[in-house]
Symmetry: C2
Subunit: 246 residues, 2 copies
């Protein structure tokens, strides 16, 4: 951990340098950002922010995975986003967090105190432009997910989630999703259920069903092999691959 920590103290070495909110910055802008940034780490399972918390910082996810979720008083939970490396947490000009943010794996954040960040945004248009672009992408993803939540069957929901994870995983290792690929599920059955608007039992049953139909194979409980990508895509209910990864 501390080794990594060392590594990206210098923005030039940062693993998310080319995708994060800072990706468009010129060297001098980067220097200004570098002056107000600091790193924080969270262990798997730890909360990062509670809904309603005062926002003292905004941040980029550098490593690890976090979830964005909402919970009703009676305990019903809906995950509203999956935060992967380079994704942005928080928003300028807002005092409080609108959702819960929880570290799913060990997480490292690159944080900026909110006020200085807001000032910087006003003076360096590249940050604002990139943030707009990222936010528009997030909005499209959220809207696509609304179709999954509102209209898809349990089986289609599972297939959709598996496909998304498969694609993101492929992007991370700079490969193209292909037949025979394998990937790890970063989420528990319960988290998957919270993402999909199902119960964990239904998630388990549908994964078993997809296995039985030979759409996927399991290597242990968390590792998935996709023999034929086309068959998984067919199970999502979408007509075709839907135009690549986000």
């Amino acid at each position: 951990m501390s080794v990594l920590h060392m590594d990206f103290k210098d923005c030039g070495q940062c693993p998310i340098r080319h995708r994060a909110v800072c990706s468009r910055c010129e060297p001098d802008e980067l220097e200004a950002l570098e002056a107000v940034k600091y790193y924080r780490t969270y262990d798997a399972g730890q909360p990062i922010l509670w809904s309603g918390d005062h926002l003292e910082f905004v941040a980029s996810v550098v490593t690890g995975i976090a979830t964005l979720s909402q919970t009703m008083e009676d305990g019903r939970t809906q995950m509203v986003g999956l935060l992967l490396p380079s994704d942005f947490i928080g928003r300028p000009n807002r005092e409080t967090a609108p959702f819960d943010v929880v570290a799913v794996s060990d997480v490292t954040l690159c944080c900026f105190r909110r006020r200085p960040f807001e000032n910087l945004m006003a003076s360096t248009p590249h940050i604002g432009h990139r943030l707009l672009e990222m936010t528009l992408d997030e909005l499209d993803s959220a809207r696509e997910w609304m179709l999954v939540l509102g209209r898809k069957t349990a089986r289609e929901k599972i297939a959709s989630l598996l496909l998304i994870i498969a694609r993101r995983d492929a992007v991370l290792r700079k490969k193209v999703p292909s037949d025979g690929m394998t990937f790890d599920l970063p989420l528990t059955r319960e988290s998957m259920a919270d993402y999909l608007g199902l119960t964990l039992e239904t998630v388990s049953r549908q994964i078993s069903a997809l296995k039985k139909s030979e759409v996927i194979e399991l290597q242990g409980k968390r590792r998935v092999l996709v023999p034929e990508l086309e068959r998984l895509v067919a199970e999502t209910g979408d007509d075709f691959d839907g135009g690549m990864i986000s």
Copy 2:
């Protein structure tokens, strides 16, 4: 219609001047925008954009209501957004429309050809800032809607939708939602079903049920009276009012 048309040829007279993407612009910036804008109108029911269409313009809704939706090949439809006056359609730096846009009522758009708009955005930061702010708000709304779609019961979904429409209606007439207020449903039962991830029969049944429980009264099929706002809020499943309108 043509009277209105005359009215907002001058941005200074525009009804959405203070909320739309142009709301932060200085007089000279407004002049530049004014040079590339033009109005288009659509009759109720007309499509404005099909998913996949080449985007030649971006636009603000000036009057009327439009929906943003997605349809699967087998016909299942999910509405992913409701576009009201001042809401923005399209996105800079994207060639094609990601969703269908349909006029629900008669609609007037203030359009900007996309290229000139993109250039303007690069030179006038106020537009980009406002668009970022609006997009972040939209993203929060979309995420809140994911909880409705994923976790709420049919009755809670209906109550949530009614409350949202009630609040937006109150904002439009510059009032505060209150006991005894009335408002019109701009959507058919089928559109409501598409918004809520239900069937139109279930929507109808749950509206009847809320009427029977005296949470709402109906004046005709499209006009709703809310005797006690608190009771409607209670039916949404949310703990309390959730911090005002967006």
